[in-house]
């Protein structure tokens, strides 16, 4: 649990918006969706790092950037201590093999015209995971692994339910024997009664195969259940990171506190502490200065408007980016 497998270093990713001709003539500055604004994280071997935040906070962008689907403007992703920014050709493909991703929507992440067997066969043969004569056997093993019947290989994706499709996606990701698995909202498209099946599968596969998992989700209960550590993201920056037990028991950043208390409890009498955040998430086109959360923070002080707080270690545990809980500013 100590060696770093994958680390992001000050990752910045902005999506430029196309300027209309009128804006161009009016000399308006180009706008950009500031999805990631300096994210530094560190995934340790065998752990699950949970990423939570509201929609538009950049958590999916982060997942996709790490999977290599987006190229960050600046910052670096290091895999086993080696920068991946200059990866090309074979090195890029090898990185892709070792860092796999499972997508949120199992209805769009599987090619509707490929039979499950062909899908797995393709992955196995492109990366030469098995000699040609061993491929059929491996397909059966993979289907067993994700607890699907073996005759699934001859079927097309539309013949499966959402939960089964997500198992197929997991089988495909595992076929290339990755070290890191990025799960972007793994179960949020699934029915509640099916979610537990898939979560259980992920947990046992992780233990059996020693996978390192980045678990991105908006369901806080789920993140707490599967994660060793959790990072809370707000408008493209990590505001707090720490052990799952510590962070959920005693969140320190005001945003973490509000977020956790907003998740409705199953107990009608457990109302949580009644922090109701005023206002809504500011547009990522136009992120507030200083601490991005100051516009909604019930405790904001003048300094919050001016200086962006850095992530700093908290005496109890984890790291927090807040002027007000940072001991050096007290």
């Amino acid at each position: 649990m100590s060696t770093s497998v994958l680390a992001t270093d000050n990752l910045v990713l902005h999506f430029k918006k196309n300027r209309s001709l009128i804006d161009l003539l009016a000399g308006k500055p180009p706008q950009a969706v500031k999805a990631l604004n300096g994210v530094s994280l560190d995934l340790k071997k065998g752990e699950t790092l949970g990423i939570v935040g509201e929609s538009g906070c950049g958590k999916s962008t982060l997942a996709r950037a790490i999977a290599g689907l987006y190229k960050p403007q600046s910052g670096d992703i290091q895999f086993h201590g080696v920068s991946t920014s200059s990866n090309k050709g074979a090195a890029l493909r090898e990185y892709n093999r070792r860092v796999q991703m499972i997508f949120q929507d199992p209805y769009s992440s599987l090619n509707p015209r490929l039979r499950v067997g062909d899908m797995l066969r393709e992955a196995l043969s492109v990366h030469n995971m098995r000699p040609p004569e061993g491929i059929e056997e491996r397909i059966n093993e993979l289907l067993d692994l994700v607890r699907l019947p073996r005759d699934a290989a001859d079927k097309l994706p539309h013949e499966f339910s959402g939960g089964q499709r997500q198992r197929i996606a997991i089988a495909r990701a595992l076929s290339v024997e990755p070290e890191v698995l990025i799960a972007d909202e793994l179960v949020s498209a699934l029915d509640v009664s099916v979610q537990a099946q898939v979560v259980n599968l992920l947990l046992s596969l992780q233990d059996d195969l020693g996978l390192t998992v980045l678990f991105v989700a908006h369901d806080l209960r789920l993140v707490r259940h599967v994660s060793h550590r959790v990072a809370v993201i707000y408008l493209g920056s990590v505001v707090e990171i720490g052990s799952a037990s510590g962070l959920f028991a005693k969140p320190k950043h005001p945003y973490s506190q509000a977020l956790l208390s907003a998740a409705p409890s199953l107990d009608p009498d457990e109302k949580g502490n009644q922090i109701v955040l005023s206002g809504e998430l500011p547009s990522p086109l136009n992120i507030p200065s200083g601490c991005a959360f100051h516009s909604r923070c019930p405790m904001a002080e003048p300094i919050c408007r001016q200086t962006k707080p850095m992530l700093r270690g908290h005496p109890e545990s984890g790291q927090v980016a807040c002027h007000l809980v940072d001991p050096t500013h007290n």
Binding site: G68, R113, E122, R172
Partner: protein, 281 residues
């Protein structure tokens, strides 16, 4: 291999039994048979003069009548199938292949190539199709081969535009992203994953386009820019009959009917294929 994956599911096969599709298919198969074996069906030589039977109306001996040189119109219409069906295929297939490839690449990579492509399309589409083709033929000179070149030069743009839009639509699905994460090459993602899912509208458009190609080809033939007389070609036949439209209506009408019928066949089959190749049940 690709065809296997494009083709359908048991339940979708029911489309094949629809009367519209069956009629269309019958027309096309019949046309194809006539095109490949005209000699087997034509009662006379298409270019054999018969001065004892000039401009005869349809009769038991000459079903479609004869022209001013005594040539049997039915035989000429049948022999024209070879040329006109060839037109449908040759004038579109290169446009299809070029258009699909360019459209897929441009749609997948986007960026500058896409911007340049967009401008080219705008420029070409501004002109009416026929005017542009005539302009190209005028430069290259009349004749079938030059006509094919002209139609391909203009026609690929329509395929490319359609393909680009379809590919971009498919890219919104995560299976393309999943392919990248799996470490697949761009070529594999484009041609094995995206293309089979994006090609259906192109194939359907191709069917209509083949009908259009026949129309265009015979229009050019009529204008003297395509097939050259005495070759039997529907446009040429109609042009030849033009001078006798009041005295020998069958000369222009019969090839006209052949054009309409073949066009109908392509459309009906196109509709059926659209239903047939939709993914999922």
């Amino acid at each position: 291999m690709m065809l296997k994956r494009l083709l359908p599911h048991k339940t979708q096969m029911l489309v094949l039994l629809r009367p519209g599709f069956l009629v269309g298919l019958a027309i096309l198969l019949g046309s194809l048979a006539l095109a490949i074996f005209p000699a087997a069906f034509a009662p006379f030589e298409p270019n054999a003069f018969n001065y004892s039977a000039l401009k005869q109306p349809p009769s038991f001996e000459h079903w479609f009548g004869t022209d001013n040189l005594g040539r049997d119109t039915l035989s000429r219409v049948i022999w024209a199938y070879s040329v006109n069906m060839q037109m449908a295929f040759v004038a579109t297939i290169f446009a299809l292949v070029i258009g699909v490839t360019v459209g897929a690449l441009v749609g997948y990579y986007g960026g500058i190539a896409d911007a340049i492509f967009g401008r080219c399309v705008d420029a070409i589409i501004t002109f009416p199709f026929l005017v542009l083709v005539i302009a190209v033929v005028a430069v290259l000179g009349p004749g079938l081969t030059n006509m094919y070149i002209a139609i391909t030069l203009v026609g690929w743009v329509y395929y490319a535009r359609l393909m680009r839009a379809e590919i971009m639509g498919q890219m919104a699905n995560d299976y393309a992203a999943a392919g990248k994460v799996m470490g697949y090459s761009d070529r594999r993602i484009i041609f094995r994953h995206l293309l089979p899912n994006a090609i259906t509208p192109v194939i359907v458009y191709w069917m209509t386009d083949m009908a259009l190609a026949i129309l265009l080809g015979s229009s050019l033939g009529y204008l003297g820019l395509g097939a050259q007389p005495p070759q039997a070609e529907w446009g040429v036949l109609i042009a030849e009959g033009r001078n006798f439209i009041t005295t020998a209506w069958w000369l222009s009408l019969m090839p006209g009917i052949a054009i309409v019928l073949t066009g109908l066949g392509f459309s009906l089959v196109g509709d059926g294929l659209a239903d047939l190749m939709r993914p999922r049940g």
